[in-house]
Symmetry: C2
């Protein structure tokens, strides 16, 4: 039972507005080997996700804030390199909330064995993991698009948005994706087969969005907030549904001048009989996780469902990769490859 040298990224300071590289610190610590019942895990891929921005603030949300000096939270795909737990063997691939760390000790709970039916193990953090289930459960349990309805989702080249659009199409709805820049817009129509793509950086974004949604919007899958929410709100149809899972555009920024305020939004909620519902992907795990796994794995195998990844090498590059993702500079599911 040898000690293990572990590299970790900890929260060095709380961001004021935009996240800075100086808000992180790379540290090396020595962990003792696993005790009886425990496992030693080596991180293969770390998942970068928008929720991490919220945990950097000292504000209570559905999860606790990360303490200063603590390891940044995060889920990884890992390999068991030493097992003193009868349920796991060396070489098993499992997902674990390792945090931003090259290794972790686990007591064997809260792990999920990766059985991706031939798909790469990285999909356990993307289309077959938390982002995928966020898209799946929010759309199935709250959005419930009907044939011919219009579904709008932003960050449409990302792991949540791209699956929302593809599932909307499978349900017979029109899928309109919002993304930043012509390259992403072309990708979501060509590769993810959305009906329309709208560039939120375009000067005429609002009129482009209106043109892409001639019959209004029936489901707005909310994962960005901010200016896009402002543009979408007046376009929602009677009885529209708004699953709310993230507000990445709001994490850093203040409200734009002339924005619809809360009173205005409440007026729209009542006059359009909207449903807004906040959710976290595991809220629907009991009822939907099984069908999610089988439906998506099958769709991947058949080529009906696609995904895209944006992989950065090296734990030391995770802070910059998170900052890039928060600014929309990733192109697909953001992952950090820790060790080949």
């Amino acid at each position: 039972m040898n000690d293990i040298r572990v590299r970790q990224v900890v929260l060095a300071s709380r961001p004021h507005g935009k996240v800075q590289l100086s808000d992180f610190r790379l540290e090396e610590v020595v962990l003792p080997g696993p005790s009886p019942g425990e496992l030693l895990l080596k991180t293969n891929y770390l998942s970068l996700d928008p929720y991490m921005r919220g945990r950097m603030d000292d504000r209570k949300s559905y999860a606790e804030a990360t303490a200063l000096g603590s390891v940044m939270p995060g889920e990884s795909v890992t390999t068991v390199i030493e097992s003193r737990n009868p349920n796991y063997s060396e070489g098993d691939v499992v997902t674990c909330f390792t945090g931003w760390s090259t290794h972790a000790i686990s007591d064997g709970t809260k792990l999920r064995k990766v059985n991706s039916n031939g798909a790469p193990i990285t999909t356990a953090l993307g289309v077959l993991g938390m982002p995928g289930f966020t898209a799946y459960s929010g759309l199935k349990a709250i959005g419930r698009p009907a044939k011919g309805e219009t579904v709008v989702v932003a960050a449409a080249s990302g792991p949540v948005g791209s699956l929302v659009g593809q599932l909307a199409k499978i349900a017979g709805a029109r899928a309109v994706g919002i993304a930043g820049g012509p390259e992403k817009c072309a990708y979501i129509t060509n590769e993810f087969r959305f009906d329309e793509a709208v560039d939120h950086r375009a000067a005429d974004f609002k009129s482009q969005l209106a043109k892409a949604c001639p019959d209004g919007i029936d489901v707005y899958f909310e994962n960005v907030g901010g200016a896009i929410l402002q543009a979408v709100l007046p376009m929602l149809n009677q009885f529209a549904r708004v699953p709310v899972c993230g507000l990445i555009a709001q994490y850093d920024r203040a409200a734009p001048p002339g924005a619809i305020d809360l009173a205005g939004a409440m007026r729209i909620i009542i006059s359009k009989r909207l449903t807004l519902r906040g959710f976290i992907n595991y809220d629907f795990a009991d009822e939907l996780y099984g069908e999610f796994q089988s439906e998506i794995a099958f769709g991947l195998a058949e080529g009906r469902i696609r995904y895209r990844e944006d992989i950065v090498d090296g734990l030391e590059n995770a802070p910059k990769a998170l900052i890039d993702m928060l600014d929309g500079r990733n192109f697909g599911k953001a992952l950090v490859r820790i060790e080949r």
Copy 2:
């Protein structure tokens, strides 16, 4: 078939902010008697309701704006005084969307025969009518309070709020009512048997509300908006439900300084996994109207459900009564008695 002299109140001008008496005009018109298939109705009681404020504006909502010079919209309890329609006889009591008018001609559609099982006919406009069904359907279909949960409703001495609280109690929940002034507050605990009453005019309203809801708020039945919504939002529990049926406090006023903005509200919606859902009472008519009628009529007969009315005499006094209601000066369901 004699002509009928009819008095009506029409919309004379659109209000800027608060409604003024000068926004209305009393007119006398002559209607021809009923044609074959039609009925002549005499208005007994006109219902005054918050939605009327919205119809005075030139803004599209779930219903069209009232045109300048047109009769103010409204539902009444009426008596058939001449029938040329085989489905109705002289003396029948029916509800009808007469508008603010002493008489109306109807083709026999969109009428509801009043069968109040011994309750006064005015209840067809209150506890057994549109406000009652708004309370019933919003609470049953969206709020769904569980035993021991806390339900908060404002305008709690009014026809919607008072029934929300009583139904919450029947469901085993705690009912906390918000009302304006000590007299209404005493009434809602003594007569409507809410657990707690909080005066929104009190300087320490927020801390009173917090004290009245030591376990937070699970259902906020939203019928006022504005400052009360601002106070309630941070107190909502995880998975709280917010049926939204009205925003009476917002109709006239601008947002207070330092208010929670839309971005802040969205953050609360996601971090608390809230459900906000706008509705109009008839949205749930197919599934709930029958059980509503029987359950409330039975509760009234048994004395388990109570109501209070605030009756003003004379059509010419309807404008002032509406202004009073919008300012919270009514005490119970606002009605105008047109003819004894």
